[in-house]
Amino acid sequence: MSTHQLPEHPDFLWRNPEPKSSYDAVIVGGGGHGLATAYFLAKNHGMTNIAVLEKGWLAGGNMARNTTIIRSNYLWDESAAIYEHALKLWEILPEELEYDFLFSQRGVMNLAHTLGDVRESMRRVGANKLNGVDAEWLDPKQVKELCPILNISDNIRYPVMGATYQPRAGIAKHDHVAWAFARKCDEMGVDIIQNCEVTGFVKDGNRVVGVKTNRGTINTEKVGLAAAGHSSVLAEMAGFRLPIQSHPLQALVSELHEPVHPTVVMSNHVHVYVSQAHKGELVMGAGVDSYNGYGQRGSFHVIEHQMAAAVELFPIFARAHVLRTWGGIVDTTLDASPILGTTPVENMFVNCGWGTGGFKATPGAGFAFAHTIATGTPHKLNQPFSLERFETGALIDEHGAAAVAH
């Protein structure tokens, strides 16, 4: 086919502007969280003279590498509040952003395989209900009714003893979410600047006044860090530390199949989670690689392990093929909860530590982080997720709800 037969290139969703010499605020990181933050800064706080700086391409980090599970059934009040706020935003965002990013509330099931799991799950269902989060306990028969391809027989290594179920949970198309936010940000005047790597900060005493980049220095009154796996690297440039360890987290997809899997199934215990994308791929993930890593790849035995678990739970997957595997860099904290608030540097704010599960929080985190940046003080949704909690001891331990990477 010769080139003159090609159709017109579709319209670009956002401009690619040159960086200006100064902005009212600069967001570092063009993943979901950076874009959502910029969106709410412009929309809720009227701050449109702002920029999102991304060292690579938009959503090239974890945003378009995650397995897109969205749910809000976390244990503690603080977490339920912010994740549920996010879920309510997911429910209205396609209309608000005028972009159908295929948010599908097909429900998420968290399987229980041991008596310990059962107790923890029932406790979480109770806690969720008290917090107004939809949650149900399912016995194995109900599990099978909702997801017929699941093996609930007794003669497997870890039989399914039941599951928690959140009907409003689901999946969305992550890259489209990023594009939807980017387009709206751009319409409101926000500069989205790709291929712009932050290499340092300009400070006046302890106050940040500028950002050094590979495309020159940009003056700014406020800086919001939303760099996920690279948060520690940026904090070090700014002169403070974060209690974060960066790990590789992998995922994979199969070739396309007929629709066989109607919901999302996660198992902390045998360590796998599976959904089926709209196109038909089976999407699977598991836990992080144990070592610290910035390589955006992990070890193959982690994949093998999760496939073994998947095949035991879903015998029909035995003949499917792995089409593609990949990795991202996730920023883990010791209490499996994020860090969202002020930093030891004046006018610099941080949003990180979402680890294996921050996609679902994208709109809620952006909403709260925008408030924090615009007003200089945390919103009540993110107040508990301060850096200070590691000193006060007010940790928010979500290992139970967050144990398998998701």
Partner: protein, 131 residues
């Protein structure tokens, strides 16, 4: 899959090992005198280096001994394997004063005396690494 040279057993698959995080983090000398901030540093804060990182590994399904390793956290290349209780065998270790050489004795569960091995492929155990 990393191929890791245990100082005692030689090259083995990563699956035989357990990761122990940053090396050279000493237990506080006077725990009672620490402020909350200092406790937080000890309990929750670890370096998260992009580049050469000194870290602990345990050969948990082999000799069950701990040892230290220098590994690049971007390429994952293993640059050195050396006994606990000895300083990190590169110059970077000498400049990172906060967690560097001054504290190495404190994390030692094996008292190694041998010169650290700088070769990632070497299967010879540094003397003194075995206990």
């Amino acid at each position: 899959m990393l191929l890791i040279s245990c100082p005692n057993c030689g090259s083995r698959d990563e699956t035989e090992f357990h990761y122990g995080g940053q090396a050279h983090v000493p237990y506080p000398e006077n725990p009672n005198e620490l402020t909350d901030r200092q406790w937080a540093e000890y309990l929750f804060y670890r370096d998260n280096t992009k580049g050469t990182f000194a870290e602990r590994w345990n050969h948990s399904t082999g000799c069950r001994q701990w040892f230290n390793m220098l590994r690049d956290t971007v390429t994952y290349e293993i640059q050195a394997v050396y006994p606990m209780g000895t300083p990190r065998p590169d110059s970077a270790g000498k400049t990172t004063a906060d967690t560097g050489t001054a504290s190495t004795a404190a994390d030692s569960t094996t008292t190694g005396t041998a010169a650290p091995s700088l070769s990632s492929t070497s299967t010879t155990a540094p003397e003194g690494a075995t206990k």
